[in-house]
């Protein structure tokens, strides 16, 4: 069973951490890409969910870069994971094959949903604010 985050979520978190820790609150694309050890071409893919969520804004030009836009105090790790990897479908239990009978009730539905809630609750109880280095 795979229970793994994508690398993109980890990079997004690191990006927030780097920007929050910077002295002038603004980090240029090349510097940020360098800190994350990724290419400047890939950086926008990492940053897009963060700007879409309104946590970060970007400006272009010689003095441009990425700035933390919102107070991250209320943002949880679940918010971040869902911003990058998509919102969980609450009703879904199984990877369904083409022959799936919509009326079939999965016997593992209840325990699986309970287990999944436990994971999501943990993520939701983890505040990004407590994890990033704010200067």
């Amino acid at each position: 069973m795979r229970l793994e985050l994508t690398k993109k979520t980890d990079l997004a978190f690191q990006a927030l951490d780097v920007i929050a820790a910077s002295d002038d609150d603004r980090v240029s694309g090349p510097v940020l890409a360098d800190s994350l050890e990724i290419t400047t071409q890939y950086l926008p893919h990492v940053m897009a969910p963060l700007t879409r969520a309104g946590w970060v804004s970007s400006t272009s030009g010689p003095k441009g870069g990425y700035v933390i836009e919102a107070d991250l105090a209320g943002v949880t790790l679940l918010d971040l994971v869902e911003a990058v990897e998509g919102v969980f479908d609450e009703s879904r239990c199984l990877h369904l094959g083409p022959k799936h009978d919509a009326n079939h009730h999965c016997a593992l539905h209840d325990p699986w949903m309970r287990a999944r809630s436990a994971l999501l609750d943990e993520l939701d109880n983890t505040k990004l604010d407590d994890m990033i280095t704010v200067t």
């Binding site: 069973m1 795979r2 229970l3 793994e4 985050l5 994508t6 690398k7 993109k8 979520t9 980890d10 978190f13 690191q14 951490d17 790790l77 994971v81 990897e85 998509g86 969980f88 879904r92 239990c93 199984l94 990877h95 369904l96 094959g97 799936h100 009978d101 009730h105 999965c106 016997a107 593992l108 209840d110 325990p111 699986w112 309970r114 287990a115 999944r116 436990a118 994971l119 999501l120 609750d121 943990e122 993520l123 983890t126 994890m131």
Partner: protein, 154 residues
């Protein structure tokens, strides 16, 4: 992040339930496949991991089939899922670059591990016997398993 089970785990539980109800008798593959409404060929791919993990014993020949080899009440949902879908690699945090030493590199390792353990703890703490008895009504309401005793309790 995908948090889905595969349908194989659910089919495996249904197959175990069918075999378990035979009270130690052998149940043929085609009979199980019929109840599960899947092809005998596909059933083979479900029973393979269960046989290898020692949950059932299989025999061949005209009277061959599957016999239960464990007490389901002693097994957890996690045991079943890991038998069917492989053990959870607790060291790996991220789905990504296989060249990356993820354990050190992942900034989210600690909270993610904690969250994942919360999920695994629930699965490990849920007994298969309880799951089967609580899902009795929903799993056995088809034409294959009409219970003649229903409604005759006095």
């Amino acid at each position: 992040m995908h948090l889905d089970l595969t349908q194989r785990s659910d089919l495996a539980l249904q197959a175990l339930d069918v075999i378990n109800r035979a009270d130690g008798q052998t149940v043929s593959g085609p009979d199980i496949a019929g109840v599960l409404r899947i092809s005998p060929h596909y059933l083979g791919t479900i029973m393979g991991p269960l046989t290898r993990a020692g949950w059932v014993r299989s025999s061949t020949g005209p009277t061959g089939g599957y016999r239960i080899a464990v007490l389901l009440a002693d097994r957890s949902v996690l045991d079943l899922i890991e038998a069917m879908e492989g053990a959870v690699d607790r060291e790996i945090c991220m789905h990504g670059d296989p060249m990356q030493p993820v354990v050190e590199a992942c900034a989210l390792h600690e909270p993610w591990t904690r969250s994942r353990d919360a999920l695994l703890d629930v699965l490990a703490g849920t007994n298969l016997g309880d799951v089967l008895s609580s899902s009795d009504n929903t799993m056995h309401n088809g034409p294959h398993s009409a219970d003649p005793s229903t409604g005759s309790a006095r």
